[in-house]
Amino acid sequence: MKTVSFSSWNGKIVDNRKGKVSKAAKSLDIKFPAQFGDGVSAVMGWNGLVVMDPGADVVSLTINYLKEARKLSCGECSVCRIGIDKLLDIFGKMAEGDGNKQALSEVEEIVGGVSENSKCNYGQSVLFPVLDAIKGYKTDFESLIKGEKKLEMKEYSSAVTAPCMEACPASVDVPGYIELIKNFRFEEALDLIREKCILPGVIGRVCTHPCEDACVRKDIDEALSIRTLKRAAADYDLQEGSSSLGFPAEEKEEKVAIIGGGPAGLAAAYHLRSMGYQVTIFEALPRAGGMAAVGIPDYRLPEDVLGHEIDVIKRMGVEIKLNTKVEKLSLGDLRKQGYKAVFAAIGSHLGTNIGAEGEDQGYEGFVDGVEFLRDMNLGKKIQPKKKVAVVGGGNTAIDCARSCFRLGFEDVQIIYRRSRAEMPANVEEIEEAEHEGIKINFLMTPVKILAKNGKVTGLECIKMKLGEPDESGRRRPVPVKGSEFTMDLDMVIPAIGQKTELFAVAGKDKFELTDWGTFKVDPVSYMTNVEGVFAGGDCVTGPAILIDALDAGNKVAQSIDCYLRGESVSEEISFEGIDLKQQRGQGYIAKVAAEKAGLLDVDKRVGSFEEVEEGYSVPEAMCEADRCLRCYRLMVWA
C-alpha cells in the first residue's frame, strides 16, 4: 500500500488529508495483501476504514459494506438483524434526498447499540467502520442528506473469512456449517463442508484441526470442537444415508487421469466430476484412500467411514482402478488413451532413514512405520512380539505404538529425540497413548541397531539435550557425549518421516523436482514443467496433513478445468498479514462448558481396533455448535 489518505484500522486513526487533526499518525502500521491494497481506492473491513485515493466515494462504500454485512447477519438476535436493516433504511432515505439532520446521530446510536448488545462476535464487531466513516467523512454524508451528492455507481468486491476458516488449509466455512448443525440442518451442513472437504468423516476424525487453535473461544473458555462437529455432520449422513451427491447435471467429453487415490486425488476427482469431466483414478494399492486408508489405524478411522466417502465419489461416476500402478508417468501414453490432463497425486509412502548404524541391513524385526501401518491396514497378519520401540514423535509414530498395544505386544515404548513440548503429534493422541500404558522416552535417539543372526535384539541409543532453536523454531536436540546405553528389544519401528517414491522420473518426460525430491509445480496452477501434467499433495509439499492434500486436490481441479477451457487460473484472495482475531468491540461473552465426546474404556482396547472416540450425539452436536461466536470477518473494497 503506497499512500494512505485515511485509516481507522483497529481504531488507530491515520489522517493525511489536508487541514485535518495534526495529532493523527501519518503511516499505517499494517500491510494489506495486494487485493485490498495496490490499485484499490478504499477498503472497508470489520476492523476499520482505509482510504487510499482521496477522491474515493466513502459514502457509497459504506452503503455497499452494509449490504454485504446484512447478508452475514444470521438474524437470530434482534439488535444485529434489525439494526443493520434500519441503518440501510436510513442511508437509503439519505440517498433519495429524504434524510434529516438527526440521521447521522441516529446512525451513531444504532452502531453503538448493536456493537454493545449483539449476541455474537459478528454483531459486536461488524459496524465499527460505519462509525469511522460518518466521523471521518461527515461532510460527504451531510452533502448526501442535502441532496448535493450523487452516489457513485461502482462495482464493489467483497471477501469473507474468519480466524478458523483462515487457519484451515482448505478454508472450510466453519462458522457456516456449525450454524447449520446448531439449527438441526445436518444435511445442509455436510453439503457446505463437502464444497471444500470431500472426506468429512475422515477429516472429522483425524484432522490435526489448526482451526481449533485459531478459535476465538480458546481465549474465553475452550476452543470449539470443530473437528468433532464436522464428524457429527458426516456421521449423520452415514446413519441416515441422506447424501445428496449424484451424477453431475451436465457431462463433458474430456477425460482426466488421476494417479493416486488419496485425499488429493479423491478431492480433485470429486470436483472435476461435479463439473462433468470423465475422471479415472489409478490406484497402486488394493484400496483407495491413500494415507487415510493405509496410514491410519482403524481405531482412529474405521474402514467403513472412509469406504462410505469413497462410495459417494464413485456414485457420481468416478472410475477407480485399484492395483494399477502407473510405473512411468508419461503424458504421451495417457494422451493416446484419450486423457487430456493428468494429476499426479502419488503421496509420500516411503519411510526416511533414522541415521542409525545397521538400518540398511534388512534385519528381521526392523520395519518402517509407514510400511508397518500399510501392511496392517491391508490385512497382513502381524505376530506380536515382546518388546517394541517406535522411533519418532509424530502421529505416525503414535499410530504405530498404539497399534502394537492393540496387537498384543507386551511392552511398547516410543523413543523421541526432543521433549514433550516439541512433539508434533496431536496432544489427544499422546495422552491416549499414555493411558494405554505406552512409555514415551524423551530426549534420546538410536545410534545403532543391535542384531544377532539377522534378527533385531535391541538398540543402542544416546541421550540428547535441547540446544538453540532450529529453522522450525523448535530447540535442536544435541547428543550428550558418553551417554550411550542399550535397550533389549525384538522389534524396532522407525517412524520419523516420509518421502515420495520417485517412479515418475523414470518416464519419458523430464520432471523438474525440488531439492526434497518432490514435484516442482507452479504455485498458482499446480502444473509441473510438463504441460498438462499437474501435481499436488504430499508429492509436492512433502508429508503434510490430510486436509492440506485435500485442499491441493480442490485447487488442482479448478486449475485443470481452467486449463481444459483455455483460461488462466485466478489467484485466491489472501488475508495474510491481517490479524483476524483483532476486534474492536468486545462485548461480554458468557462462558459455556464444552461438550466432551466419550472415549472407549482403556481395558477394551487390547486386542481390538474398535474406534476409540465416540463422537457426538445429535443433541450434543447441537449444544456444542451453539457455542460458536460466528467471528466472520468482512472486507468490501473498490
Binding site: 439488535v79 434489525i82 447499540g113 448488545n117 457456516g176 461480554y588
Partner: protein, 235 residues
Amino acid sequence: MVNMVIDGRKIKVKEDSTILENLKDLNIAVPTLCYHEELSSFGACRLCTVEIKANGKWKLAASCETVVENGMEVKTDSKKVQESRKFAAQLLYYKYPTTTVVRDVALKLGVDVSDAKAGDNDCILCGLCVRACEEVVEVCALTFRDRGLGRDIDEPEIEFDPNRCIGCGSCAYVCPTGYVKMEEAEGKRVIWDKVFKMVACDVCGRYFAPKDQLEYISQTTGVPMSKLSTCVTCK
C-alpha cells in the same frame, strides 16, 4: 453456592443458574420476549440485558444467557441498562410495529408507540417454538433458516417440516405474539397449514389429540395405540 452482588445486595445463588433465573427469584422485573423457564435460553430479543462487571469493566450482557460466577456484580436498573433495553425494544417496534406484545413492551420501556396499526401479529423470530419442538416434544419440525456466507436468503425465517410435525400444538402454546395459529373444527386440527385428523376419546367422545401425535407417543414409549385412545379427563 456462589456469591454475587445484584443491585448492591449481596446474595448467595445456585451454581450454574443464570442471572435471569435469580432475578426472577428476587422478584426483580425483567422484560423478556424470547424466554421460557422450561426451555433453554436463546438471547434473541436482547430485552433482558443487565450490566455485569467482567475483568474490572462494566459490560452489557443478556441475563438469560449468562451463568453466574463467583464474585459477579450485576446492575439491573442502571441508566445504561434502561437505555439498552429501550434500544432493543425500539428496534423490535421498528420491525414489528403492529405486533401487540412488541408494542406493549416497547411502551413500557419508554418507546414512543403510535396508536395506529395494532393487532397484526408477526413472527419476531424469538425461537420459542423451535426450542419447544426440539427440547420438549423432541421432534424438530421447526428449524431456523439463518442468513450467512453464501446463503442467499433475504430474511431469516422459521421453517416448518410437515413430515416431522405431529400436530401437538406446543409451538402455538409458547408463541408470545400469537403468530403461530392453531385451529380446530369437526375432528380436524390445522397448524402451520397442515391438517391433522383428531382422535375422539373412547369414553366421552371428545376430540382430544391428533392421530399423528398419539402414534408418535406410541412409537417412542412402546404403549400400544389401543391404550392411548382415552382422554386425560376420562382416564
